[in-house]
Point group: C2
Chain length 297, copies 2
Amino acid sequence: MGLNTRIEACIAQSVALGQGRGSVPPKLASALGYATAPGGARIRPTILMSVAMACGDDRPMISDAAAAALELIHCASLVHDDLPCFDDADLRRGKPSVHKAYSEPLAVLTGDSLIVLAFEILARQSSHAPDRVAQLIMTLAQRTGMPGGICAGQGWESETEIDLSAYHQAKTGALFIAATQMGAVAAGQEAEPWFELGARIGEAFQVADDLRDALYDAETLGKPAGQDDLHGRPNAVAQLGVQGAISRLRDILGGAIASIPSCAGEAQLAEMVRMYAERLTPVAPTVAAATTPTRHV
Amino acid sequence: MGLNTRIEACIAQSVALGQGRGSVPPKLASALGYATAPGGARIRPTILMSVAMACGDDRPMISDAAAAALELIHCASLVHDDLPCFDDADLRRGKPSVHKAYSEPLAVLTGDSLIVLAFEILARQSSHAPDRVAQLIMTLAQRTGMPGGICAGQGWESETEIDLSAYHQAKTGALFIAATQMGAVAAGQEAEPWFELGARIGEAFQVADDLRDALYDAETLGKPAGQDDLHGRPNAVAQLGVQGAISRLRDILGGAIASIPSCAGEAQLAEMVRMYAERLTPVAPTVAAATTPTRHV
């Protein structure tokens, strides 16, 4: 089974668990599926699985649960971020956002249910390796909630004085740090040495996202463009210009490769980061429109 | 230490963990405290602790984490339920609801962060008793999310055809079932025999809540009154009348006492249910206004 197939299978299985059988509220059950498939590039679970495989992947069911849990949290964050009180986004991944397709109450509940489901599917694997599962739950919680997870990242956007470094690490970096650390933990390794790789990939995605937000139109993005400018959010392109931001992106990805801890699959992991570097570096928008497919991260 | 003090201490300690130190978004950190204290009667953690103590409470730190986690989930549900897209409630526990006191984005994030924190504080206790902690996380998740938890309960309110039994069990019963089952599991007992006690207490609270919603004004309730009528939600008073609903409440509580599994603290638990029965049974509203303090559940 290829990596993509494996990831889609474990996400689908987890969502089916949340959708249940018999007497369940049908719209909410349907919204769980809508919010999670078809997915974007599944980058976070792909990084998680790549790290787990580089570390031996000796408990594949634990890696599967970790990858699915992480993607469910990411999907939940997209559903809540799109709500009228945040980005008020009508589109996500090229289709109506959950609150547009269903309703605002169902979008709030979809996000809540996906967060809960993420922790449930991890806990269900506990009998196979209780220490790893507890560590996975703690890592995912710390990178999702307060004080240092993506909720904290969003929370900074309600402040007039922002700690930019804390903001970026929490808002975009957190789930990439979770990806590398959870991949290592799922395969029985220590989390700490994998922090830097996750943090640097997160930084790279932030800069790439800033570039895309500034350069691409809504059709290419599959979501509204120019949102950072509109919401007055900090943006690497505003700080460094387009060429400066592209140079910065390359530097960060070089640092990411250099930070990979010594492990059996080190060379393959470096290759994966190089591949993302290729895909992340935007080309000029006119060329992009003609040659590249729509990418959703 | 009295039970109330113990419960308040473990909730405060958990919230402090979520609030963190150093560079955290201050408004969101403050909102976590605002949403969780001063609390209502802390009924769910009190039931959980009472069951744990009736079962021997041999791992008090696990019971503490379980009680705090359950109350955090309850508080999160109140914050999200009060949002404009649900009940649009300006008041909660006699003070402005979180979205009124802070903002709607911060209220969404407060609920999300409290849900995540609940699972994190449980996972942190894993090294002391991994099997119990995994079971606690699964039980809490099942009673919180989809397909059978309070999210599912809320989800039914977006349907035109409602399965009333599934709706009530998920909407109000779920966290009481979590309370009795998590209390037993925290003390090393099986969850299953404790289902019925939780389900019946949940039913009793639903009927009592329906009575209060129909009989009391907003000042006494500390939140808007007449909400069931307004939102066309099913209500025991509408079905049975006031006296019929009071009789039903007494029957349910009698059944609850009869359902208590055999354990060392059985008699004390029965006493606790009787005490709640006293407190739950509403008196006529004019008498209530003169003689009883405001109660928040």
